[in-house]
């Protein structure tokens, strides 16, 4: 059922604004829209614009701050990622008051600061290590040089170059009269050569001929060996710092709860700041506009009088040209099925909530598509466990609730037309076992006719809903000429096929009347020649009925697919088990373990893939074949300002 919306205009003192917004968010009652402003250019507008602009600017600034807070904490949670303690598979989100969450924000931001410091320190240590490693690499060839590097300076008569040369060239250099010292005895020892200032060419040429490579060393001080040692010490310190930082990160991740609370708190504040930007303010007062459910409009006074001393609240029905949000209210059984409808589109706020007339068909066809008692029991049990322990919220909760009932429906349909974990009932309990009542693998035509017949029933149900809706709107012409006429033809066909004797003529009569109504009145909105062709054109709708009914063949196909897939998996497991049994001594044990594990895995896969397929294909049948007849989509969901969180469940 769609709950009508009330338009809300609230005027209150700016001093009370924060308290009011907090109270509204806590109770989640108003969807705040951008408040309408006085017309531009009017006297009121120019007088108010300064105050309102200041307020808007402040709100925008606050929103930017809240957003950056939330983003920073979110990034920190992402950075700590795998280090943080993981919630168990069936662990529910912790419960927490909104005040506590908001209080956690500064704490979380402080943790973000710590995290930033640690990350920067780690990055600096890593960069330092890289630099030191490069230095060691460049110094390595000169490790045996015993002269402190800073003492290699030009004298009055010569300059000195440090470099290396291949050992076999040393003799040649000596013969060329170059003066140098050799350090080390490797294949390419380091040499310190003197290049005389007057006439350096000869020496330089000799060095070049010997393949001398000059050392490119930055300003190091001391003996290379000492410098290298120092570098290694530095690297050890860097590595220690990185390790220590890793420990610090782990310690920080222990406080992940605070970060998660902080993020939720920041999200709450961000939502409020966003809503604030929609307010219109004067120097002393502010105005809030939005939508509230008509069944909660009375609660507003209680909430507001508690939060503010003075206020003025105006509620009214939406104007025709306004598009209020949609809120559907159903009981516990039907409510989850709103999820299915919303996948298509929420209903038009002035339309009709199809949940109640859709859910029974949805369950029926879902059950037939899955069609396996074992799978149904597993789904119901799994969904119940999820709901009991994980306590999911939002869409996941709704899917779980649908699966609880879908599983029961699947179990029943499995007994009637299907299998048990892919095994046929007759194989399990003997040929005299009364179930399944119908075996689609053997009586294919019967199964096809029954499934399409059920589909036809849903289509007729959709037409009846449409007829009732049209009559409710006072549009009896559409109800009679466009819908009742077809229903009459269908009923006439049924009478004609089933009845015997004179009653058959009643059937002919009904078909005739139906055809007459369609041909004569089908084109009633058209003029002249169009009126004739319009009526005949309406007859063409019959092809639509055919294709819609045949579309329900998918129920047959998916039901068959589940059963066959299950039985194929059983066959595979029995083949594997048979093969393993051949192993002497340990064979039976191994074959049991492997086959059991394989069975569980394959059947779980089968459930998952078929539940997904059934869920969506069943939804499609509702959207295309059923809603097509009567549903007016196009609403957008009622999203009141509320404490929407990610990790913690807010308790009121």
């Amino acid at each position: 059922m769609i709950v009508p919306m009330k338009h809300i205009s609230l005027f209150a003192r700016k001093a009370d604004e924060r308290r009011i917004m907090k109270a509204l968010q806590k109770n989640g009652v108003i969807q705040i829209e951008r408040a309408s402003e006085p017309e531009e250019g009017s006297a009121v507008s120019s007088a108010l614009s300064k105050a309102s602009e200041r307020f808007r600017a402040a709100s925008q600034e606050e929103l930017a701050k809240r957003r950056s807070d939330a983003a920073e904490i979110k990034a920190a949670i992402g950075a700590l990622g795998s280090l943080m303690p993981k919630a168990g598979m069936l662990e529910a989100a912790p419960e927490c008051g909104d005040e506590e969450l908001i209080k956690a924000v500064p704490e979380a931001l402080a943790l973000c600061g710590e995290l930033d410091t640690i990350q920067k320190s780690t990055a600096a240590a890593k960069a330092d290590k890289a630099k030191r490693l490069a230095a060691i690499k460049s110094l390595a060839p000169y490790a045996e040089v015993t002269v402190p590097l800073e003492t290699i300076k030009p004298t009055r008569s010569a300059r000195f170059v440090l470099g290396s040369v291949r050992a076999e060239k040393l003799e040649g250099l000596r013969e060329a009269g170059v003066m140098f010292d050799v350090f080390g005895s490797g294949a390419k020892p380091a040499i310190l050569a003197a290049v005389p200032k007057n006439g350096p060419e000869e020496t330089e040429e000799a060095l070049a001929a010997a393949g001398f490579t000059e050392a490119a060393l930055p300003e190091y001080r001391g003996v290379p060996a000492d410098i290298i040692n120092e570098m290694y010490e530095g690297i050890a310190a860097d590595e220690a710092a990185v390790a220590e930082n890793a420990k610090k990160l782990e310690a920080l991740a222990e406080k992940g709860e605070t970060l998660k609370k902080g993020l939720d708190g920041a999200m709450i504040e961000q939502a409020r700041a966003e809503a604030r930007c929609g307010l219109f303010a004067t120097g002393e007062t502010f105005m809030l506009e939005g939508w509230a459910r008509s069944d909660e409009a009375e609660k507003l006074d209680d909430i507001l009088s508690e939060a503010a001393g003075v206020y003025y609240l105006e509620t009214r029905d939406p104007y025709d040209e306004e598009q209020p949000p949609t809120y559907c209210k159903n009981n516990k059984f039907f409510a989850p099925f709103e999820f299915v409808t919303n996948m298509y589109s929420p209903p038009d706020p002035r339309g009709f909530d199809p949940t109640v007339v859709m859910a029974p068909f949805y369950l029926l066809f879902f059950g037939l598509m899955m069609g396996d008692t074992g799978y149904g029991l597993v789904m119901t049990l799994g969904a119940l466990l999820m709901l009991k322990f994980k306590k999911p919220r939002g869409g996941v909760e709704q899917i779980c609730r649908i699966l609880v009932w879908g599983g029961i429906s699947t179990a029943i349909c499995g007994l009637l037309t299907g299998t048990f974990f892919g095994m046929s009932w007759k194989d399990l309990f003997g040929a005299s076992f009364p179930f399944p009542l119908l075996d689609p693998m053997k009586d294919q035509m019967t199964a096809l006719v029954i499934y399409c017949g059920l589909g036809f029933a849903q289509i007729v149900a959709g037409m009846i809903v449409s007829m009732v809706l049209h009559i409710g709107k006072g549009d009896w012409q559409t109800a009679v000429f466009d819908i009742a006429s077809w229903l009459m033809i269908f009923a006439g066909l049924a009478v004609m096929l089933l009845a015997k004797g004179a009653v058959k003529y009643l059937g002919y009569g009904m078909i005739g009347l139906g055809l007459f109504l369609i041909i004569v009145f089908g084109g009633r909105n058209k003029k002249g020649f169009g009126r004739v062709t319009g009526g005949l054109g309406k007859l063409y709708d019959i092809t639509g009925f055919f294709s819609d009914v045949l579309s329900y063949a998918r129920v047959f196909a998916l039901g068959l697919a589940t059963g066959v897939m299950g039985s194929v998996f059983n066959m595979i497991c029995s083949m594997v088990s048979g093969a393993l049994k051949g192993i002497p001594v340990v064979g039976p044990v191994i074959s049991f373990i492997v086959a059991a594990a394989l069975l569980c895995a394959l059947h779980l896969f089968c459930i998952a893939i078929n539940a997904l397929g059934s869920f969506i294909h069943c939804a499609r049948l509702q959207f295309i074949e059923y809603y097509n007849r009567f549903y007016s989509p196009g609403g957008h969901l009622f999203k009141p300002l509320a404490a929407d969180t990610k990790y913690n469940k807010v308790i009121k």
Partner: protein
């Protein structure tokens, strides 16, 4: 060709063609999904569902292939050599609907899935994209229905 060769050919086609289609489809959709998840890891759930949709055709093909192999005696080996040529041809033609339609449907469905990833990326919800993609699967479902019924019915 003897009956069992026809049957084997049918089983192979039923497995291989939709398998190729599904591999291409899941692969394409997976690449698109990775793009969305790279921007926002929280959307991985919806993206995975969208990626999985073109996988079903391959499974349908596998079912038909297995049924043919099992019914014709390819698996057990018993009676395989005596399989009449007409029966074997029956299996072969029974495999064709899912083999051909499965290939096309998986590929085309994955293109809708990739487009659906855009909806997830921009609107943050995958339901509508999933509904669009599932429309393409209809024909694979009809094909597997006919294939299974024919395989079961071949005498």
């Amino acid at each position: 060709m003897t009956g069992i060769v026809w049957a084997a050919l049918g089983a192979v086609l039923a497995l291989v063609l939709p398998g190729i289609g599904s591999s291409i489809g899941v692969g394409m959709a997976g690449r698109a999904a990775a793009g969305v998840i790279a921007e926002d890891p929280e959307k991985s759930g919806q993206c995975t569902v969208l990626q999985l949709l073109p996988a079903t055709q391959g499974i349908y093909g596998f079912i038909v292939a297995f049924l043919i192999a099992s019914n014709s005696g390819l698996l057990s080996g018993s009676g395989a050599s005596e399989l009449a040529a007409s029966v074997g041809k029956g299996y072969f033609f029974a495999a064709l609907p899912i083999a051909v339609v499965g290939l096309a449907s998986a590929y085309l469905q994955s293109r809708v899935c990739c487009a659906g990833m855009n909806i997830v990326a921009k609107q943050g919800e995958g339901g509508k994209g999933i509904v669009l993609a599932i429309m393409v699967e209809t024909y694979a479902i009809l094909a597997v229905l006919v294939s299974v019924l024919m395989v079961v019915g071949v005498k």
